[in-house]
């Protein structure tokens, strides 16, 4: 029996092309959702789109340089503004909805959600 390496999560989702397809859909959902949109009111859209892209690449299991410390630093000011577990839940929900819209199978969406979930402690500065 031959052995083969199974494709990574990132490859299964579709790699960089999938990130490109997802980033606008995801960011639009975030900006349109009253539960979280106020955190994005005063951010520069260009910079934010670049961050969303880096975040999605990481959540899709792709190459990234994110560290827990980056996550803490990047969200510390939002924690001061009241960022909590409920908001993280919304983001993970919107991430799942984005992937569902792109017809990504549910088991892969669950894996993405798990990666996003793993950043919760750092994002909320716990």
């Amino acid at each position: 029996m031959s052995e083969h390496v199974s494709p990574s999560l990132y490859q299964q989702i579709g790699g960089a092309a999938a990130v490109d397809a997802a980033v606008d859909i995801f960011y639009r959902k975030v900006l349109s959702d009253d539960r979280v949109s106020h955190f994005f009111d005063d951010v520069d859209m260009d910079r934010q789109a670049a961050k969303q892209k880096a975040f999605l690449t990481m959540a899709f299991g792709g190459p990234h340089n994110y560290t827990g410390a980056d996550m803490r630093r990047g969200h510390a000011h939002l924690v001061l503004r009241g960022l909590n577990d409920g908001h993280v839940d919304v983001i993970i929900e919107l991430l799942g909805a984005t992937l569902a819209e792109l017809n990504v199978p549910q088991p892969l969406i669950a894996q993405v959600a798990a990666i996003a979930e793993s950043t919760r402690g750092d994002v909320l500065n716990r």
Partner: protein, 332 residues
């Protein structure tokens, strides 16, 4: 504390201070305007690379490679020797003609003797002989003999008052740039274009629209020009004639107050856009002018379905000095 060497003299940098603030504090007249890393008026050159990357956003690769940086964006952590850019990045220009486009907007025409390649819609820094600098967008096309800028009169605004009141026709000024990515890119002639601007945000859009038409753009070009009142609109006749000549150019004017007459729409620009263009997916958009409006509009256009990469925004940041009054003729 690190020190900055300028013209042979060392100046100590205070904690958190930028190169620009340090030099201004010690009496060096560095041209500057927005102090936000956008207008590029405070371009300087460092003798060594001391971690300049964070202060090089938006600069051309050729300038980056030579150690140019924006003095308002560099907080040095090591000693650095810096100099002001010389003739190698500046082009002399003569003010050839000034005419009023409405009560507050002046058309400034400039002639350069050397080639000054640019794309209509990009911006340049206009530097007066005493070093005063402001950024303005280019409304002209490269084949035209003169460069064209639109300058709004700002009470107490040093550059705009000079241009409006002192009639400096014939004077020589310096141009730095051009810069910015708000311009027409050929290759998709059928793509629908949305051009939205307030006040002198019309300048880059006027350049972009004429450039697109000159390059044979066949897709619809929607131009929305907004102002507080109808008196703030300008180039109306020219744009009406253009849209009469080009069936694909649609020109809409809107005023927040006193609209509803003479073909001027009454109300917010985004409502005017939505009323005419309910489906925006697939458009490429250019949004120029007042920063608050630019930022809110680009978000609305994105939510209305335009891809984030297809929105080019140019927020005209106010100049931070030397006038204490808010200014907005300077642009990013």
């Amino acid at each position: 504390m690190p020190s900055i060497t300028f013209e042979g003299q060392d100046r100590e940098v205070l904690p958190g201070e930028t190169v620009l603030d340090c030099l201004l504090r010690s009496g060096v007249a560095v041209p500057h305007s927005c102090k936000a890393g956008a207008c590029q008026s405070c371009l300087m050159k460092a003798e060594a690379n001391v971690g300049l990357e964070s202060a090089q956003a938006g600069l051309k690769d050729t300038l980056r490679a030579q150690g140019y940086f924006l003095a308002c964006s560099l907080r040095p952590s090591a000693d650095v020797a810096v100099s002001l850019p010389g003739g190698e990045v500046r082009t002399a220009a003569r003010i050839t003609r000034l005419d009023s486009l409405n009560e507050t907007v002046l058309r400034v025409r400039l002639r350069v003797e050397e080639p000054f390649p640019y794309y209509p819609g990009q911006f340049l820094s206009l530097v007066r002989s005493d070093g005063l600098a402001r950024s303005y967008s280019l409304a002209s096309l490269p084949h035209e003999s003169d460069l064209e800028l639109h300058v709004r009169r700002i009470p107490g605004g040093a550059m705009s008052e000079w241009l409006h009141s002192d009639s400096p026709e014939g004077e020589t000024v310096w141009l730095q740039g051009p810069a910015g990515n708000c311009f027409y890119v050929p290759g998709s002639p059928e793509e629908p274009l949305l051009l939205v601007g307030t006040g002198t945000g019309l300048a880059p859009l006027y350049g972009i629209a004429r450039d697109a038409l000159a390059q044979g753009h066949t897709g619809p070009i929607w131009m929305f020009h907004g102002a507080l009142t109808p008196a703030g609109l300008y180039l109306t006749r020219e744009l009406q004639e253009m849209s009469a000549r080009h069936a694909n150019l649609h020109y809409v004017r809107a005023a927040l107050r006193d609209g509803g007459v003479d073909g001027v729409e009454d109300g917010e620009l985004d409502a005017c856009i939505r009323a005419r263009l309910p489906k925006l997916a697939g458009f490429k958009a250019y949004v120029c002018g007042d920063p608050a409006l630019v930022n809110s509009l680009r978000k609305k256009l994105f939510l209305a379905g335009i891809a984030s990469k297809a929105i080019y925004a140019d927020a005209f940041l106010p100049s931070s000095s030397p006038s204490p009054l808010p200014q907005s003729a300077a642009c990013t």
